[in-house]
C-alpha cells in the first residue's frame, strides 16, 4: 500500500467507501429479515388486527337509526332523515313541535316501506326500554294517522311526548356515539347533557367487572399457593425424577380444555364422584350434598386446575437455575430453615412469581369456556356477558364496547408483562 491510499478513507475492492458499503449491507440484511417476517405480519394484520379494529369501530358506531341494509339484496337506504333534519335545525332541549312530529310520521312511513321499524326501534330500545313496541305500534297504525301529528302520536302512546325519548332519538340520529361505552359502565346521559348512573336495579356491568377481577385475583392466588410448592419440588429434585413428575404438570396442559371441564363436572356435581364418595364414607348426609358445581366454586376450582400449569412452568424455569449453595450457606451461618427460605430463596424466585401471576391473571380475566359450562349464573365472567349480547340479546354495539374495555385491560397487562418479563421468555413446557 502506498502512502497516498492511507490518507483516503478505506474502500472495498469496488472502490466504494467502506462505511457506505457496510451501511448498505446492513440495510440489506435488515430488509431481508423484515421480508421474512412480512408475510406473517400481513396475515396477522388481516385476520386478527383488522377484525378487532372493526369491532372497536362497531363499539362507537351504530347505524340502526340512520341506515337500513336489506338482508337479502344488501341495498342500503337512509332512514329517519326528516327527524335528523329537524334535530339539526333545532338545538338540544327544544320541545318537539308539530313540525317534528310531522317529520317523524314521514319517517315512519318510510320505515314501513323498507320494513325497518323493528330495527330502528331496537336501536332506541337499547337506551330506553319499552321503545321498540312504540315503533312497531306506530308502524302498524301510520296509515290511519292524520294531522295534527303531535296529538295523533300522543294519543297512540303518550310516551311519544317524553322529552328523554326525543333526546335518545337525537343521539341515535348520528351513528357515532359513546353511549354504548357509557352503558358498559352503568352510566347514561342525563337530560342536562351530563352523565348519571342507571337505576340500581339495572346496574350489571360494573358488578360483573368487579366479580371478574375478584375471581381472577383469587384464581391467580390459588394457582400461586398450589404451584409454588410443586415448582420448588420439581426444581430441587434430580433431573430424572423431576422430568417424570413434570409429566403430571404437562399432561393437563396438553389435554383438551373441554375434557378437563367435563372432568370437573363429573367430579363436583351433586350426583358426582366427590359427593358420592363423601356420602358413601358417611362424612356427609345424602340430603345435604355440597353444591360445588354450576356456581362460583365450580368456576374457581376448574379454572385453577386449568391455569395451574401456566403458573408452574414460569416458576420452574426461574427456580431450576437457583444455586442451592446459597441456602446452604445461609444455614451454615445460623439461619433457621424459614429464614433461609424467606430471606435467601424466596427473593430469587420473585421474577418467576411475577411472570406466572401476570400470565394466569391475563388468561383468567378473559376466560369464557369454563365459566360458561360450569359457572351457573353466579360464576359468569365478563366474557360470558359479551357472548350473551352477541348471541342472545343481539346488542352488538354493547358487546363490542364491553369487549373493548376488556381488551384495553388485557393489553395494559400484556404491555406490563412484556416490560417486566419479556415476551421472549414465554415458554411452553
Amino acid at each position: 500500500m502506498s502512502d497516498a491510499t492511507a490518507n483516503q478513507s478505506l474502500t472495498t475492492a469496488d472502490g466504494i467507501p467502506l462505511k457506505a458499503a457496510l451501511a448498505r449491507a446492513e440495510a440489506r440484511a435488515r430488509r431481508r429479515a423484515f421480508l421474512l417476517v412480512l408475510p406473517l405480519l400481513a396475515f396477522i394484520l388481516i385476520t386478527f388486527v383488522t377484525p378487532i379494529a372493526q369491532m372497536l369501530h362497531q363499539s362507537v358506531y351504530n347505524e340502526g337509526f340512520t341506515m337500513h341494509t336489506d338482508v337479502i339484496t344488501g341495498e342500503r337506504t337512509p332512514i329517519m332523515t326528516n327527524v335528523k333534519e329537524w334535530f339539526d335545525e333545532n338545538p338540544v332541549g327544544t320541545e318537539p313541535d308539530e313540525e317534528a312530529y310531522a317529520a317523524l310520521a314521514e319517517d315512519i312511513r318510510k320505515l314501513r316501506e323498507v320494513r325497518a321499524a323493528g330495527s330502528a326501534g331496537t336501536r332506541i330500545n337499547y337506551e330506553r326500554s319499552g321503545t321498540r313496541s312504540m315503533f312497531t305500534k306506530a308502524n302498524r297504525s301510520i296509515t290511519g294517522l292524520e294531522p295534527p301529528y303531535k296529538e295523533a302520536f300522543i294519543e297512540l302512546d303518550e310516551e311519544w311526548g317524553a322529552p328523554d325519548l326525543w333526546q335518545v332519538m337525537r343521539d341515535a340520529s348520528t351513528p357515532y356515539t359513546v353511549n354504548f361505552y357509557l352503558a358498559a359502565i352503568d352510566l347514561k346521559k342525563s337530560p342536562d347533557g351530563g352523565f348519571e348512573g342507571v337505576p340500581d336495579n339495572r346496574k350489571v356491568y360494573v358488578n360483573l367487572f368487579q366479580r371478574t377481577l375478584f375471581l381472577s385475583v383469587l384464581i391467580t392466588f390459588l394457582t400461586f399457593v398450589l404451584g409454588y410448592p410443586i415448582a420448588h419440588l420439581l426444581a430441587t429434585l434430580p433431573l430424572r425424577q423431576s422430568n417424570l413428575l413434570m409429566i403430571l404438570v404437562l399432561l393437563p396442559f396438553w389435554t383438551s380444555l373441554l375434557v378437563r371441564t367435563t372432568s370437573w363436572i363429573v367430579l363436583l356435581q351433586s350426583e358426582g364422584v366427590l359427593n358420592d364418595a363423601l356420602v358413601g364414607a358417611g362424612l356427609l348426609g345424602d340430603e345435604n350434598r355440597l353444591p360445588m358445581m354450576y356456581n362460583q366454586i365450580g368456576t374457581v376450582v376448574a379454572m385453577t386446575h386449568i391455569l395451574l400449569p401456566f403458573m408452574v412452568l414460569p416458576l420452574y424455569s426461574v427456580m431450576r437455575p437457583i444455586n442451592p449453595s446459597y441456602v446452604r450457606a445461609a444455614r451454615s451461618l445460623g439461619a433457621t430453615s424459614w429464614t433461609a427460605f424467606w430471606r435467601i430463596y424466596f427473593p430469587q424466585t420473585i421474577p418467576g412469581i411475577g411472570a406466572g401471576a401476570l400470565l394466569v391473571f391475563i388468561l383468567s380475566v378473559g376466560y369464557y369456556i369454563t365459566p360458561a359450562l360450569v359457572g351457573g349464573s353466579s360464576g359468569q365472567l365478563i366474557s360470558n356477558l359479551i357472548a350473551f349480547h352477541m348471541q342472545n340479546s343481539l346488542n352488538w354495539s354493547l358487546a363490542a364496547a364491553l369487549a373493548a374495555l376488556l381488551l384495553g385491560g388485557v393489553l395494559i397487562l400484556y404491555w406490563l408483562y412484556d416490560r417486566l418479563v419479556g415476551i421472549d421468555n414465554l415458554k411452553l413446557g
Partner: protein, 421 residues
C-alpha cells in the same frame, strides 16, 4: 432399602413409634366420629380402643418380623384375604394395597428411615415440615392429574351415570361395557341396528355425528396447522436475526393472539367475516381455518424461536462459503437443526385448532361441526357418558402428543448441544 440402621441419628425407639401410631389412629377416628356426629363418650372410647389396638399391632409387627419385606408380604396376604371376604375382587385389591402400605409405614416410622437422605443438621420440626411439604406437593399432583384419570374408568360404565357404581368398585365385569364407545359410532347413523358388514361401516363413515365431527376437526386442524407452521417458521427465521428492525413490537403483535381473550377474537371475526361475506365465497372451512391458523401462530413462533436461540450462525456462513445458495443453506443446514422446534410448534398449533370451540361457534357454518363443538353442545344440553368416551380418546391422544413433544425437545437439545442444567 437399607435395614441396617446407622447408630448416630436413627435408633429405633418404641416409646416414640408406638405413641405416634396411637395418636395417629386416634386422630383418624376423631375425624370420622366427628363427621358422623357421634356422642362424646362413644367417640372417646373408640379413640382409646383404636389407639391401643394400633400401638399393639405395630409392636407385634416390629417385634415378630426382622425384615420389612417379610412383614409386607405377610400383612399383604392377610389384607388380601380379609378384603376378599369383605368386598370381592375390588376389596381384595384395596385390602392388599392398604396392608402393604401399613407394613411399610410402620417399619419406616419405627426404624426412622424417614431420616434417610435428609441433611443431618435438621431439627425434628424441620423433618416434620419436610414431610408436610411432600404431602402438600402430593395433594397438588393428585389435584392436577386425578380429574383427568377419573373419567377413563367412568367412560366404561354400563349405566348412564357419571359416578362409580358398586359393580364397578367390585371390579365386576358386568359393571363395565363399551356401549358409550359404540354410541360414538352409531349416533346419527341411518341404520345403526343393521348387521355390521361393509355397508354398516360405510353408513357410519358417512353419517355418524362424531365421525363427521372428527373429520371436520382433522381437516380444519390440518390446513390451519400447515398455514400457521409455514408462515410462523419463516417469520421466526427473520425474527431471530439480530438485524431485525422493530423486533420487540412485531413480536408483541405476533404473540398477541395467544393473549387476547378468545371471545374478543371471535366477536371481531364475526363482524369481519359478515362484512366480507366470506360464507358466500364457496370455500368450505375458510373462515375457521384462517382463524385457527392465527391462534396457532404464537405457539409456532415461540417454539421455533426457542430452537433458534442457541443456533450457531457460523454454520450458515460456512455453508455459504462452500458455495450453497441461501435456499440450499436453509434446506440442508438450518432446517434439520430447527426441525424438532418446527414439529412441536406444528403439534401445538394442531392441538390449539383441535381444541378450539368459541370461534367455531361464532363463525363456523352450521354443518361445520367439530369435536369440541359437539362436546360443547353435549355438555350444555344432555350430558351423556358418550362425552366421557370422547374425552378418554382425547386424553389418550394428548398423552401420545405429549410424549412426542418431549422426545422432540430432547432430540433438539441433543442436536444443538444444549444440555439441561
Amino acid at each position: 432399602m437399607n435395614s441396617d440402621v446407622s447408630t448416630t441419628q436413627a435408633t429405633a425407639s418404641f416409646r416414640f413409634s408406638l405413641s405416634f401410631f396411637a395418636l395417629l389412629s386416634a386422630f383418624v377416628v376423631l375425624v370420622v366420629m366427628n363427621a358422623r356426629a357421634s356422642g362424646l363418650l362413644e367417640a372417646a372410647t373408640a379413640m382409646l380402643v383404636t389407639s391401643v389396638l394400633a400401638a399393639g399391632m405395630a409392636f407385634v409387627l416390629v417385634s415378630v418380623f426382622d425384615s420389612k419385606r417379610t412383614a409386607m408380604i405377610v400383612l399383604g396376604a392377610m389384607g388380601l384375604v380379609l378384603g376378599l371376604f369383605a368386598g370381592g375382587i375390588g376389596g381384595a385389591i384395596a385390602g392388599t394395597i392398604l396392608a402393604v402400605l401399613i407394613a411399610h409405614f410402620v417399619f419406616w416410622i419405627h426404624y426412622r428411615h424417614y431420616l434417610d437422605g435428609l441433611p443431618n443438621y435438621l431439627t425434628s420440626n424441620e423433618v416434620l415440615w419436610h414431610y408436610t411439604y411432600l404431602a402438600i406437593c402430593s395433594i397438588v399432583f393428585v389435584f392436577l392429574i386425578a380429574p383427568i384419570l377419573v373419567i377413563i374408568p367412568l367412560s366404561f360404565n354400563v349405566e348412564p351415570y357419571f359416578t362409580f357404581t358398586e359393580k364397578m368398585l367390585a371390579f365386576d365385569p358386568t359393571g363395565y361395557s363399551l356401549r358409550w364407545y359404540d354410541l360414538l359410532l352409531t349416533f346419527g347413523m341411518n341404520n345403526p341396528d343393521a348387521p355390521r358388514d361393509l355397508s354398516w361401516w360405510a353408513d357410519a363413515w358417512d353419517n355418524a355425528r362424531w365421525i363427521n365431527a372428527a373429520k371436520n376437526s382433522i381437516i380444519i386442524g390440518f390446513f390451519s396447522t400447515i398455514l400457521a407452521t409455514t408462515l410462523g417458521t419463516i417469520a421466526a427465521l427473520g425474527l431471530s436475526r439480530s438485524e431485525m428492525p422493530y423486533r420487540r413490537a412485531i413480536m408483541a403483535i405476533l404473540i398477541s393472539p395467544m393473549i387476547v381473550p378468545i371471545i374478543i377474537v371471535a366477536t371481531g371475526l364475526f363482524f369481519f367475516y359478515s362484512a366480507l361475506g366470506i360464507q358466500n365465497w364457496g370455500i368450505p372451512y375458510l373462515g375457521v381455518v384462517l382463524a385457527h391458523a392465527t391462534l396457532g401462530i404464537p405457539f409456532v413462533i415461540i417454539t421455533v424461536t426457542a430452537t433458534l436461540v442457541g443456533f450457531d450462525h457460523s454454520l450458515t456462513r460456512a455453508a455459504a462459503s462452500l458455495g450453497a445458495d441461501s435456499f440450499t443453506t436453509f434446506r440442508r443446514v438450518q432446517m434439520p437443526l430447527i426441525l424438532p422446534g418446527v414439529v412441536s410448534g406444528a403439534l401445538f398449533a394442531f392441538v390449539t385448532s383441535f381444541d378450539e370451540v368459541v370461534v367455531v361457534l361464532f363463525v363456523g357454518a352450521l354443518d361445520e361441526q367439530t369435536i369440541p363443538r359437539q362436546m360443547w353442545n353435549g355438555i350444555r344440553e344432555q350430558i351423556s357418558p358418550a362425552i366421557l368416551s370422547v374425552a378418554t380418546i382425547l386424553v389418550v391422544i394428548s398423552i401420545l402428543l405429549l410424549t412426542t413433544v418431549e422426545l422432540l425437545r430432547r432430540r433438539s437439545e441433543r442436536l444443538r448441544g444444549v444440555t439441561p442444567q
